[in-house]
Each structure stands twice: as structure tokens, then as C-alpha cells.
Amino acid sequence: MSDRTDLRLRVRVNGEEVMREVSPGRLLLDFLRDDLRLTAAKRGCDVQVCGACTVLVDGAPVSSCCYLAADVDRREVVTCEGLAHPGQKSKLQEAFIAVGAFQCGYCTPGMLVTATALLAEHPRPTREQVAEYMKGNLCRCTGYARIVDAILLAGGS
């Protein structure tokens, strides 16, 4: 459409500088999944309730399904793909594997990203802190116990 004004976006995604033209209404989730082919963030509820689409923007967890791509201009985005160097795993990812904190796995990238932010804020969280912080990430398989266990393990308790 001729009356649409696209924006030039410059953003650091998982440590790499990215420049792209985006339409003003482009959602961050679509930008990541379709333009950059980073498909770890998932479209779940699509109304910022389930947490499957969680990514970090300047270290803070956001729902990329309800966040404009334009709003990450000149900022830093980390998706689940960027939690560790390629071929490696973060301590938290190791803990998820050690504990077996998966069932279907759809919520896992969002869980990992949110828990990464949690551990940055509270490096040795209590079970209550984990439960409170992770309240906004839903696991439809209801496998919460092991997810919490894995986060506590990564936090050293």
C-alpha cells in the first residue's frame, strides 16, 4: 500500500547486528520468526498471557506477540537461540535436560528465556520467587514441578 511508511530497523539480535525494513505494525514475533527465521519463540495464546513468545529486550522479558518490531530499534534482543553460543548450552538449559523439564516442549523456549531473566535478577531464587516470577508462563502439559526444579538447580539450590 502506498500510504504505508516502512521503517529502517537497526537491532542487535543474539549478539549480531541486524538491519531490516519493517512495516510500522509488524509484530516482533513475526519479525523474528519470518524475517530472521528464529523460530524458538512460539505463537501461543497471541494475547500476552501464555509466555510462549517471550524474548528479552535489553534484558527484560517481553511478549513478542504484542510488541512492535519497531520498538526494538537500536536495542538488544535475545531469543532462546541466543541463550548460549551455538552448539553449547547455558547452565539453565543443562538443568532443564538434567531434570527432564519437558513434556511437549512448546512452552520450553519461553520458559528458558523468562527463567534466564529471573536468574539475572535473583541469582539464587527461592521456590516461591521462581513460582511468582514464572506465573505468567503457562505449560499446557502442566509440567510445572520439574520446570521449577530445573530453575532451582540452575540457581544452585
Binding site: M1, D3, R4, T5, L7, S23, P24, G25, L27, D46, V47, Q48, V49, G51, T54, V57, A60, P61, V62, S63, C66, Y67, L68, A70, D71, T114, A117, Y133, K135, G136, N137
Partner: protein, 289 residues
């Protein structure tokens, strides 16, 4: 469809942009507006981003804490002056929605959206806050109790921006405790009510606020319940907790939804008001000088 995104770098520029065209809307966090756009409930062709106006500061200025409209809920929950002087606001901001909504959603957006399922407006009502509204015509301050008109409706004019929330710092010579109680299904509060009491040196209530948040179309004070508490001591106030709950329940006009009928919400409002009062009394008794 969003066609244009304006990103003004100054308040003057933003005030120029707003109000002069249909289908142009301001946004900050976008946690409310983008949802509406996605659900097809709002037609927006042009967005005006308010995040580059420097409206996100939080500071104490003498007898008032000034919270910039674009301060996020997470920033308010963390803020030293808010925690020190308006702890009920810090607590409410820290429990709002989920961690992602708190990281992006702003106090100004929350108030202007005027969702009946919200706690922030009620807490500000308990603390006698004002909002500062700016337009090219000038600045006006509006008591928060006069800001809300109905569900999703405020007195904000098309060419106005809410730029700050001003919350008076309670006097040091008196003891004030404010508590807000709510019940939420998932992340949306269904019913909420709060009480704020301030005692004089003799232990009499010299300032009483009772307000209903979620459960009424917009936050309201319950004058009759406040009058009931005014001048009493704590023991008498506690005995009247049931009455305060009943007055709050009677005064509100809940909107029913799939989770709760109006009658059930009314019942819950009464319970929340009673418990908030009991919380305040317990807290004041514990800190008796």
C-alpha cells in the same frame, strides 16, 4: 492496519501530532492498544509513540511523588521513592499482570485505558493522587477520582496527554496505612477494594479512605464507609469491618463476565473491603507508637 508510526522526540512535537486526526492513537508499552488492534476492536492507522519524550522518570519533589506517565509497572515496583512513601502502589505495580506486562506496560497507559479490571486507579484514589494532563492549550491537574468517567472512559480530551501522576507523600507526624485487596482469575482482577486510615497522636482516625477498584466500572470512593470510620479508634473500626464491606458491596455496580456474575462480584467486593480494613487495623496496631 497500522500504516504510520510517529516517534516524536519532544512533548511539544507529540502534542502537535495528537488530536488532529481520526485513527491516530498514542501508545507507550502497547500492552493494551496492540491487543485491541490485533483483536480488531480498534481501528488505528497511525500510532504516536510516547517513549522518547522523557516521561518515564519517578522522583520525589517535596511533598509529592511524581511518577512519569511512561514509567513502567516494573520501574514503579522497584522505585525507591514509591516504595518508601507509597508502598501500596509499589506492591500493586509489582503484582500487575505478569512479568512481561510489567516490563512494558506503563502507568499512564493503564489509567488512560481505564479497564474496569484494574487495580492501579483504585490504589491512587486511596492515596489522593492527581493526574497532570497537557495539551497545546495548557496544563490541568485532575483528581484521580474525577479522571474516570466509566469503563474505558476518562475525561482526557482528544488533544490531551496524561504526562504524570502526582501522589502526595503522607505526613510524617501521622501514621497512615493503606491496603488493597483483590481477587484475580488468571491475571485480571475480578474484584478489588482498599482502605487507607491515618491516625492522630491519640489514636483516632483522622483520615479514612475506602475505595472499590475492579468490580465497579471505574474506581470509586465509598463516602458512607469513610464517614463511618472517621473519628473512630481502631477497636471500633475493626468492629465495623462487616459494615464497611457491606457499604462497599452496596455502592458498586459490577459488570458481569464469564467468570463472575454481577451479584457474585458484589459479594467479593464486600469481602475484599472488609479484609483490607482488617489488614490496615492489624498493621496500625502492630506499629502503635
Amino acid at each position: 492496519m497500522i500504516r504510520v508510526l510517529h516517534r516524536p522526540g519532544s512533548l511539544e512535537e507529540a502534542l502537535e501530532l495528537i488530536g488532529c486526526r481520526e485513527n491516530r492513537r498514542v501508545y507507550a508499552g502497547g500492552t493494551e492498544l496492540l491487543l485491541l488492534v490485533k483483536l480488531g476492536l480498534a481501528q488505528v492507522r497511525e500510532l504516536v509513540d510516547l517513549k522518547r519524550l522523557g516521561l518515564d522518570g519517578i522522583a520525589r519533589d517535596g511533598t509529592v511523588v511524581i511518577v512519569g506517565a511512561c514509567a513502567t509497572h516494573a520501574a514503579i515496583a522497584r522505585s525507591r521513592p514509591v516504595r518508601a512513601f507509597i508502598p501500596v502502589l509499589a506492591a500493586t505495580a509489582g503484582e500487575l499482570g505478569n512479568v512481561r506486562v510489567r516490563a512494558t506496560g506503563t502507568i499512564g497507559g493503564n489509567l488512560c485505558f481505564a479497564d474496569p479490571s484494574s487495580d492501579v486507579g483504585c490504589v491512587l484514589l486511596l492515596e489522593d493522587a492527581e493526574v497532570e494532563l497537557r495539551s497545546r492549550r495548557g496544563t490541568r491537574r485532575v483528581e484521580i477520582g474525577r479522571f474516570f468517567v466509566h469503563a474505558f472512559s476518562t475525561v482526557l480530551a482528544d488533544d490531551e496527554l496524561l504526562v504524570a501522576v502526582r501522589v502526595p507523600v503522607p505526613s510524617r507526624t501521622r501514621r497512615r496505612v493503606t491496603r488493597y485487596r483483590r481477587i484475580a482469575l488468571g491475571e485480571r482482577p475480578t474484584a478489588g477494594a482498599g482502605v487507607s486510615l491515618e491516625l492522630d497522636a491519640g489514636g483516632r482516625i483522622v483520615r479514612a479512605r475506602v475505595a472499590v477498584g475492579a468490580g465497579n466500572p471505574h474506581p470509586i470512593r465509598i463516602d458512607e464507609a469513610e464517614a463511618h470510620l472517621q473519628g473512630q479508634d481502631l477497636a471500633t473500626a475493626r468492629e465495623g469491618a462487616e459494615d464497611v464491606g457491606r457499604l462497599a458491596a452496596t455502592a458498586c455496580e459490577p459488570i458481569g463476565d464469564v467468570h463472575a456474575s454481577p451479584g457474585y462480584k458484589r459479594h467479593l467486593v464486600g469481602v475484599m473491603a472488609r479484609r483490607a480494613l482488617e489488614d490496615v487495623v492489624v498493621e496500625l496496631e502492630a506499629t502503635r507508637g
